[in-house]
Point group: C2
Chain length 234, copies 2
DNA sequence: CAGTGGTCTAGACCACTAT
DNA sequence: TAGTGGTCTAGACCACTGG
């Protein structure tokens, strides 16, 4: 574990433990430096991470303050993670409709920067929140990177499997989304009428090496899903 | 201008000028250090900014590479800016429907962390892209912070005015969004039928000091607007 | 003006990638 | 094993906030 990660984690935990609220003040940089026995730069690196995560903000001449989200129950789109990683595991269930190896179509190949015909895992799932259909998702994983996959894994957290079992280093992601109308197939799975609203999200996930490995298309139930992003200047 | 900002800007410009593509390699850290006459840490700070912006990615032992978005015409939600700042000015026009000072309701007060009855500027606008209605927006600005406002300013870029004329330092923002159905009032402005899909976004913008100054509610035309986010791990 | 965060440097040493 | 990015330190000096 890196020192600055450890420090960031400890600060975050202390915010939780002390139940600090929006605007509450943390110890000064200098104090943190001596408290964690680290150099100023290292502590600042930790604070920068927390700042980018939206957990704190720093104000020159004044101090370091807690930044808290005001609302709950929103899906964080500012993360490079699977759904389970962002929503919390407890109330979510998954129905796996398909796990197959297929040849990449031109659409898949383009988004994953591979060749048409290259092998990809095709996974189709419906996900439920508190038993209500939340979304239907089709994912394509580059088989040369994600070498093995099965229904059990797909029913659980795929991203967790990639990180721990396959030891892949996730890097970054591009997410594109817009609003549309439910088509016939989606209407069945989400229990909606054709033409009702949908939230349509396409994401491309990359390894730390810059290689794309997952292209996912997800249609959300318009009434079940809400999202948030915490942005920071610059 | 800070040194690391200048360096970040120059690197970004050189990516554009040389028309570098996804995966193209930049000079090594060491080269950049000598090229810009800066210390390693300063150059790394610049590179970190570009990494968080989604412009590059760095790979230990290998090099620094260009990360490019694959698609165009999407609105970036990962920014703390007004619409004009993210979408480019050229094709956007604005119709101002209202600029008034009102008393904060409980909803407004809660989101802006002010008292009920405090004075806020209420601004209502419809925005057009290529002459087509893109969205209808209602904004509430804390009057004690945004001390002056008028129709001309509202017709242009409010955020630009805040930065340059009022010299406010923008800090961060929280954005919440979901999908819904158009109501009667929205249907008129967006030229849609009641019940058609809408993308509904609420944003709260904060100064660098942590004080909320703008609460905005925006309803987007489902067919005109698409969005993206570039996320980074860690 | 005291206190606090922000910038920048120079350098030691570590960890990963590619060949 | 050479090359390249990542971590961490110690310290000088700058810039802003608030009493």
């Amino acid at each position: 574990m890196l020192k600055y990660q450890e420090i960031a984690g400890k600060i975050e935990k202390s915010i939780k433990n002390q139940r600090l609220k929006q605007g509450d003040k943390l110890p000064s940089l200098e104090e943190l430096v001596s408290q964690f026995n680290a150099s100023k730069s290292t502590v600042r690196k930790a604070l920068e991470i927390l700042e980018n995560k939206g957990a704190i903000y720093q104000l020159r001449g004044s101090g370091i303050f807690v930044r808290k989200l005001k609302r709950r129950g929103y899906i964080d789109l500012g993360l490079t993670r699977g759904l389970k990683g962002t929503i919390g595991e407890y109330e979510m269930t998954t129905e796996v409709l398909a796990v197959e190896v297929i040849d990449a179509t031109s659409e898949i190949a383009k988004n994953l920067s591979i060749e048409i015909g290259d092998a990809v895992y095709y996974i189709k799932r419906v996900r439920f929140l508190h038993g209500q259909p939340l979304c239907i998702e089709e994912s394509y994983f580059v088989k040369s990177i994600v070498t093995y996959m099965n229904k059990e894994i797909a029913a659980d957290s795929i991203f967790n499997y990639l990180r721990t079992a396959l030891k892949l280093n996730l890097g970054f992601s591009d997410s594109y989304f817009h609003v549309g109308k439910i088509n016939e197939e989606e209407s069945k799975f989400l229990k909606l009428s054709i033409g009702e609203p949908k939230f349509y999200l396409e994401s491309i996930f990359y390894l730390a090496t810059g290689k794309a490995f997952d292209y996912s298309k997800t249609t959300y139930h318009y009434d079940q899903a809400q999202f948030f992003i915490q942005a920071t200047s610059e």
